[in-house]
């Protein structure tokens, strides 16, 4: 499925949109990390929590649990929250 990558993480992917596979959001993130080593830890901490300023959407709807299920036709959008100065 297609995964939209936010600008701060494009140093890993080299692209705005990439392909990844998984039955859950966690699975997609694990697949992304296989393809682009290190990218997952920048988004998910060691306690499996989404980092404070990262937002995850499935088909445009925000999800808060990495166990959220995905179908092959879904798309994932990863977004950096707007904050700071």
């Amino acid at each position: 499925m297609k995964v939209l990558i936010p600008a701060p993480l494009r140093s890993y992917t080299g692209a705005r949109e990439v392909e990844a596979a998984g039955a859950t959001l966690a699975g997609v993130l694990a697949d992304l990390d296989r393809r682009y080593p290190g990218i997952r830890f920048r988004m998910i901490d060691e306690q499996e929590r989404m980092r404070r300023h990262m937002r995850f959407f499935i088909n445009g709807e925000q999800v808060f649990d990495t166990a959220s299920r995905l179908r092959p036709t879904d798309s994932v959008q990863i977004v950096q929250a707007l904050s700071g100065g």
Binding site: G38, F41, Q47, G84
Partner: protein
């Protein structure tokens, strides 16, 4: 014979002077490398590296003279460590950056704050100190990092560490991880807050070394959580001597004693002995430098009176002399963070400091005269030097 010895010494000094110096500057918005010539007179700026990343520390491995580690995060992304073996031309991310064990009361590393190359006999081994406070160790030159369980998982240490709300405004810091050059099993570290700790068995067991240290008025010295060392340095010429800039003064410790002596009492009263950095002379254990900060009222964290100055002691803290020639004479409201003042290893020691206003100042004569070698950088978090060539 004596003449021969002198010649050899001069030759050795010339050789050392011929080595090029790099000043490694870590800032709130990236890292810069300042390449100096052999005379330390002209500087070429290389950077930014990691523009937009918060870089807390960049350190060169003195054991191989080529491995650079940079502790990085951004305002939005998690923390990591980057490595370079070609002086920053290319960087590669650590395969497993410092991270707490899963389920360990839910702690997650916010940023790596401090990097220490280990002993000369243990190439590729490094220590990292983080916020929230934890120690991590790498034995593969920073590629993978493992939690130091004797500290990170110890409930007594956890109690001293406090919560994310304790310690410095941007999070409690594990810092000043020191490896005795005579013995890799002999370690020290400082916790802001949480005190100073020593291990003689490579970190399996630890002893607090806080006797003689003052704490903020109204608190008990016996409570290690309120001890706040800002920066601890071991003298390379005498590893039994340590200097410390603490939240509550400047101290010296001569081992085997465990009693810190408040040598900051001898600073001028109008300046006081509050600050963050501590620098020790590479060849003379009686000489050390500090950079005082305004710690009155609400802790403005600026140079006292807007007049920045380093202070040096040449007699182990019995007296201090002001060193401000070349620095702003007034309206200089910046200060210097705990990792942002350092020195090189020259015969006539060069001093370097990075300011909260994004300037790098340098002295080629041990602080007598200062000159600005870089300006308009972001807020500087750390300055280190490395000799190459």
């Amino acid at each position: 014979m004596a003449a021969k010895k002198r010649t050899k010494k001069k030759s050795s000094a010339r050789k050392r002077n011929a080595r090029r110096l790099i000043v490694l500057v870590a800032t709130r918005k990236g890292a810069w490398l300042l390449h100096g010539d052999a005379q330390r007179k002209s500087w070429r700026m290389d950077g930014p590296h990691f523009l937009g990343h918060i870089i807390n520390h960049v350190v060169m491995d003195p054991r191989d003279g080529r491995t650079l580690l940079a502790a990085a995060k951004t305002g939005h992304l998690g923390p990591t460590i980057f490595r370079s073996t070609d002086y920053g031309t290319t960087w590669k991310e650590a395969a497993r950056p410092p991270a707490f064990a899963k389920g360990e009361n839910g702690r997650a590393v916010d940023h790596t704050f401090w990097l220490t190359p280990c002993h000369a006999d243990e190439p590729d081994t490094w220590y990292a100190g983080t916020s929230p406070q934890g120690i991590f160790r790498s034995t593969d030159a920073g590629v993978t990092w493992n939690p130091f369980t004797s500290v990170n998982d110890d409930m007594q240490f956890r109690d001293w560490m406090g919560t994310a709300q304790d310690g410095t405004p941007d999070g409690p810091k594990m810092h000043s991880i020191i490896v005795d050059p005579r013995d890799p099993a002999h370690l020290y570290f400082g916790m802001s807050g949480g005190g100073v700790h020593e291990s003689r068995d490579r970190g399996r067991t630890w002893t607090a070394i806080v006797d003689g240290l003052d704490v903020v008025e109204g608190f008990e010295r016996s409570n290690l959580a309120v001890h706040d060392p800002h920066c601890i340095r071991m003298c390379p010429s005498n590893p039994d001597r340590l200097y410390q800039q603490n939240h509550c003064g400047i101290y010296r410790l001569d081992r085997p004693s465990k009693q810190w002596v408040r040598i900051g009492r001898n600073m001028p009263k109008q300046v006081g002995d509050i600050g963050f950095p501590m620098v020790v002379h590479p060849h003379d254990d009686d000489t050390a430098w500090v950079f005082p900060m305004d710690g009155t009222t609400v802790w403005p964290r600026t140079s006292p009176g807007g007049k920045p100055a380093a202070y040096v002691t040449r007699n182990a803290g019995k007296s201090w002399q002001r060193l401000d020639d070349g620095l702003p004479k007034s309206q200089g409201w910046w200060t210097v963070k705990r990792q942002a003042m350092t020195r090189d290893g020259g015969e006539r020691v060069g001093l370097y400091l990075g300011t909260t206003a994004g300037e790098v100042w340098m002295s080629r004569d041990e602080g007598k005269r200062w000159g600005c070698i870089a300006r308009n950088l972001p807020e500087i978090y750390a300055v280190e030097t490395a000799e190459i060539g």
